[in-house]
């Protein structure tokens, strides 16, 4: 119980400290807060690993009156991934500020916003109450929008506002679904809802909530806000926005469909979700292929990579001879969430380093940079391997698990999406790679300290390690996994 409270309150306390402390102590406070929260996340994970899911009833009130929190395998896996990405972003932001000297607005605002975002993410990961999840989502959106607009440039403010409009629309749709659910059942706890007596309005409620969450997850065709927003933010903030923020709404979607209302799934709805995911993979990939700026390529790649996760909805439950335990697609999708988080954060942080070195992220300006910044180039290549889903990375584990389910469930069309998406990723990531590794000598790039370069390298190595050491995270994800993930929707 204590570790969970620590996980939720430490980032909030640190956020307050970064506002209240004198200017010189702020970055240090953020660093200490990040370290402490990272430890708390690992602590929760260890406890869950040893003793199973951990429950916490706020104020001792039981649902439906009170709000229940639960840390299961999926929550803690996301919690640890988030903690790693957050810590890396905090480190990268410190190094970036030391090198480039940001304006006073960024230097002041970025710490509390990052930490607030972290607290809200942790809250969403463990919350079991639909309204509490709404509040968590809103907090995430608000801090994320502020991070997008933090530079104060007109373009960034416009991107932030566009993001805010989508986010608010999504929140209101979700809220409408929550209101309908409450008026029909008088309860909002996920476990209680699983045992409810279904009523006709459930379909509408689930549909509204799903639509809202899709807008927040930037699933095709609701993705238009994501690339400009992610590209406009400072690099460490982009890393968080791309790697973590969409995962919160995605997690709620998974919890809704697999835990709260699995009975509402119909063949048509699953096909729609999977089909939108497939379209996202293709469309995001194609758009990433034509971008001229590294950050936009990486941002469109997020649209594509999130699409894979949606294939788990139609694929869940396919059991074959290679995979008799059958929660393959679900676990694979969760692996995709984790490995994409690590790899995408690493990629945005490398983009930040390139921008610090040459002042631009246009592909033409990045030519030959791998020679001056070999560690960063290597980090980019490693995370690219994960995003392409090549072995031995975490992305490969995800793809393998989902593809096995696709063949076992006799739904081979989805396997084609997985294969094609991987090749498309190879194509759009090849362009920045080729630019970085070309023989041109860049015009005197600014020196970037090695410890800053090491940050994305560590994240990329973790993404690959997730595949090399996939047995442990695999088992962790099975703790408290909904049975329906194995049976299929």
């Amino acid at each position: 119980m204590t570790p969970m409270i620590a996980l939720l309150t430490l980032p909030l306390l640190a956020a307050l400290a970064t506002i209240a402390l004198p200017r010189r102590a702020r970055a240090a406070a953020a660093g200490i807060g990040a370290g402490a929260t990272l430890l708390a996340a690992i602590w929760v994970a260890v406890v869950v690993w040893r003793t199973g899911p951990m429950d916490l009833m706020l104020g001792g009130w039981q649902p439906p009156v009170g709000i229940g929190l639960r840390a299961d395998g999926l929550s803690v896996a996301l919690g640890v991934m988030t903690a790693l990405v957050m810590s890396a972003a905090v480190l990268a932001a410190r190094f970036e500020h030391a090198t480039t000297g940001p304006g006073p607005r960024i230097a002041f605002g970025i710490w509390p916003l990052i930490l607030l975002l972290w607290a809200a993410l942790n809250a969403v990961f463990v919350s079991r109450d639909l309204f509490n999840l709404y509040v968590g989502l809103e907090l995430i959106s608000l801090s994320a929008v502020a991070l997008v607009a933090i530079s104060g440039k007109a373009q960034a403010v416009a991107a932030g506002l566009r993001y805010l409009l989508f986010a608010l629309t999504g929140s209101l749709l979700y809220l409408a679904g929550v209101v309908l659910t409450y008026s029909a059942h008088g309860m909002l706890d996920i476990d209680l809802l699983a045992a409810r007596t279904p009523v006709p309005t459930d379909a509408l409620a689930l549909g509204l909530m799903t639509a809202g969450l899709l807008a927040k997850t930037a699933l095709f065709p609701f993705h238009v806000w994501l690339p400009p927003a992610h590209a406009a933010a400072p690099a460490p903030a982009s890393a968080l926005l791309s790697a973590l923020v969409p995962k919160a709404s995605l997690l709620i979607l998974v919890r809704l469909w697999f835990e709260a209302m699995p009975d509402m799934a119909t063949a048509a709805s699953l096909l729609t979700l999977g089909g939108l995911g497939a379209l996202a993979v293709v469309w995001g990939g194609v758009l990433a292929l034509v971008q001229a700026r590294l950050k936009l390529i990486v941002a469109y790649s997020t649209v594509a990579q999130l699409g894979y996760v949606f294939l788990a909805f139609p694929l869940a439950g396919g059991a074959g001879a290679a995979q008799p335990w059958s929660a393959g697609a679900w676990t694979g999708a969760m692996f995709q969430i984790l490995s994409h988080g690590l790899a995408k954060a690493s990629m945005f942080l490398t983009a930040g380093i390139f921008i610090a070195a040459v002042g631009s992220d246009r592909l033409g300006d990045l030519r030959g940079l791998a020679r001056a910044l070999p560690m960063t180039g290597f980090a980019f290549a490693l995370s690219a391997i994960t995003l392409m889903g090549l072995p031995p990375s975490g992305g490969f584990t995800a793809k393998y698990l989902m593809m096995t389910s696709a063949f076992a469930a006799d739904q081979r069309g989805w396997a084609a999406v997985l294969v094609g998406g991987g090749l498309l990723a190879a194509a759009y990531l090849y362009r920045p790679m080729a630019a970085l590794f070309s023989a041109d000598i860049p015009a005197a790039p600014r020196a970037v300290p090695r410890r800053w370069q090491a940050v994305p390298l560590w994240l990329a190595a973790l993404a690959v390690g997730l595949g090399l050491m996939s047995a442990a995270p695999f088992d962790l994800l099975q703790i408290g996994r909904p049975d329906i993930a194995a049976e299929g929707l």
Binding site: P64, V65, F131, Y134, V135, E138, L139, S141, L142, V145, A146, A149, G152, K153, A154, Q155, V157, A158, A159, G160, L161, R162, L164, L165, L168, T169, S171, L172, L175, A176, V179, Y182, S183, G186, V224, P227, P228, A231, A232, A292, R293, L296
Partner: protein, 100 residues
């Protein structure tokens, strides 16, 4: 009787809000439209909460929380609108999809 008035008013507010969201390009109007939709939903929730026997306190707690959230969202939105207006002289979104 009075309950369905609340529910209907809520629905009407949501409708007006959606219209405003779709029809108005001015960002301040859109922010107001969001607030209308939110208020409509809360009204609906309140109405739903007082069905049945006695009064269910939970919706009231939810509504109060929701109002706080909506207020902070509006504050952020208005700040951004002002910042955009200062930077570009207009309070509407530029229409290009992606900055190149």
């Amino acid at each position: 009787m009075s309950l369905s008035i609340f529910a209907l008013t809520g629905a009407a507010l949501v409708g007006i809000g959606i219209y405003g969201l779709l029809a108005q390009a001015h960002l301040l109007r859109r922010v107001i439209a969001f607030n209308l939709i939110g208020s409509g939903l809360f009204l609906f929730l309140g109405a739903a909460g007082s069905r049945g026997i006695g009064i269910d306190p939970i919706p009231q707690a939810l509504i109060i929380t929701g109002i706080v959230v909506a207020l902070s969202a509006s504050a952020l939105a208005v700040t951004l609108v002002v910042a955009l207006a200062r930077a570009t002289g207009r309070a509407t979104l530029p229409d290009e999809e992606t900055p190149r």
